[in-house]
Symmetry: C2
Subunit: 259 residues, 2 copies
């Protein structure tokens, strides 16, 4: 049987709040077996951009990454946030190693096509090279990925953290029985979006389609769930969605997704 | 016999100039055998600090790292510069991995004592943990270190890049026949500071003391050379000082130091 592996993604809202981040890292540290952390950027990049007078350009509600914004993203994601997480984990004696997708050539991407919308320096993942990553896990290191990758010409690219987590989980499922955790501010997938007690404990593909038909799942949650089922369709064993409480030894309610 | 290892440090002046950095990286890529790159920060951190309105405080001509300056250093060294070097090397098919001293717990430091001068968040290295680093070298990765470390409480600390290079070289000399390269803007140790053609080709400890007595070596060069002989005293095989030309297959003049 393949060994277990946990790939855990935390969103911006967990990172934003220093106390919440520390609580998360303490729980993360206690997760047994080989594990990988993927972190988003939070609003830190926007704030730094504002301080530097770099305006965030939005098209159809989506952020455009121009050269200035990319530099800010690299400084905040790979610098400030990544090293703050790594050093805090190291202080807990968790042997973390901070990585962008460029490091050890693990995540190769291409710049997103400029049609229909030119998103700027945004990357779509084309391949994951797991050789070095597997060695890191085998020697007990805990990889901590920020949401950046690079193309074959060496251009760094802003890359969706949810996608990085799912593509890493998929690529490592050849060698590991992989569980993917999406850790965000909500307790899980909710049947009533305003009520944190309405967590749907288990969703499979069949019930997923029913939930869509019944419009139980809000629009914001749809891309996330599509990403989850994409991972399950590509050999990831299980996906869990919830707040950091789902990592407790005695976890609070959260949503488990399986095929 | 131990395998050879090259530890190569580039200073701020090489990094400053994009064309010069690319020329250096092409030569670095061609250096045979396992190798490590250590980079300084350049003036990029000062520039970003200025844009953010963070004033550089100097005491006795030395920079003080307050909280704001440390954040800038982390963003620029571990973020912008480190990832720009890593992605450029990856584009040359050199399998670089960017690291701070915090990553994989490789460099442990303590905050410098506040007496006689409180330099702020500046680290003095107390130990190097080579286990993970040796694995990286064995699987063909090329570690690229920025000038940051962390203490056991998880506090990131600004750390002298020359010292990081020499301490890494020393720690790895147990397992490798290590050559340490200090790559800067001068052609080597000069007998006439204004004349780049006056490179002293070889210095040993005896001639070093003569050069000091005769005041041939300028004050700026003294700490660098002390660092070199410290490394040689602690089992580093050879130290080379010069500009990037010393890495050419047919190198220009540079200074070699041995005991």
């Amino acid at each position: 049987m393949k060994p277990a592996l946990s790939v855990i993604k935390i969103g911006g809202n967990v990172i934003e709040n220093k106390g919440e981040l520390t609580r998360f890292l303490r729980l993360f540290h206690k997760v047994e077996g080989p594990k990988i952390l993927v972190h988003g950027g939070g609003k830190e990049a926007t704030r730094l951009g504002e301080r530097l007078g770099i305006r965030t350009t939005m098209v159809n509600g989506r952020r455009i990454t121009d050269k200035g914004s990319l530099e800010v993203a690299i400084m905040v994601y790979a610098g400030l946030i990544n090293k703050s997480i790594v050093s805090e984990l190291q202080a807990m004696e968790c042997n973390a190693i901070g990585l962008s997708g460029a490091d050890a050539g693990i995540i190769r991407a291409v710049k997103r096509p400029v049609v229909p919308i030119d998103f700027g320096f945004v990357g779509d993942i084309v391949s994951i090279h797991t050789d070095a990553l597997r060695t890191f896990l085998e020697i007990g290191l805990v990889p901590v990925f920020c949401a950046l990758s690079c193309d074959k010409g060496g251009q760094m690219l802003n890359t969706n953290a949810d996608t990085i987590a799912s593509e890493l989980a998929i690529a490592l499922s050849r060698d590991y029985r992989t569980t993917l955790y999406y850790c965000f501010e909500k307790a899980g997938v909710l049947s009533d979006i305003g009520n944190d007690l309405s967590v749907i404990p288990h969703i499979n593909k069949q019930s997923y389609y029913s939930l869509i038909r019944e419009k139980t799942i809000g629009e914001g949650m749809l891309p996330k769930l599509e990403n989850c089922f994409h991972a399950l369709d590509h050999s990831v064993h299980k996906v869990c969605v919830g707040n950091i409480g789902m990592l407790r030894p005695n976890p609070s309610a959260y949503t488990t997704l399986t095929l």
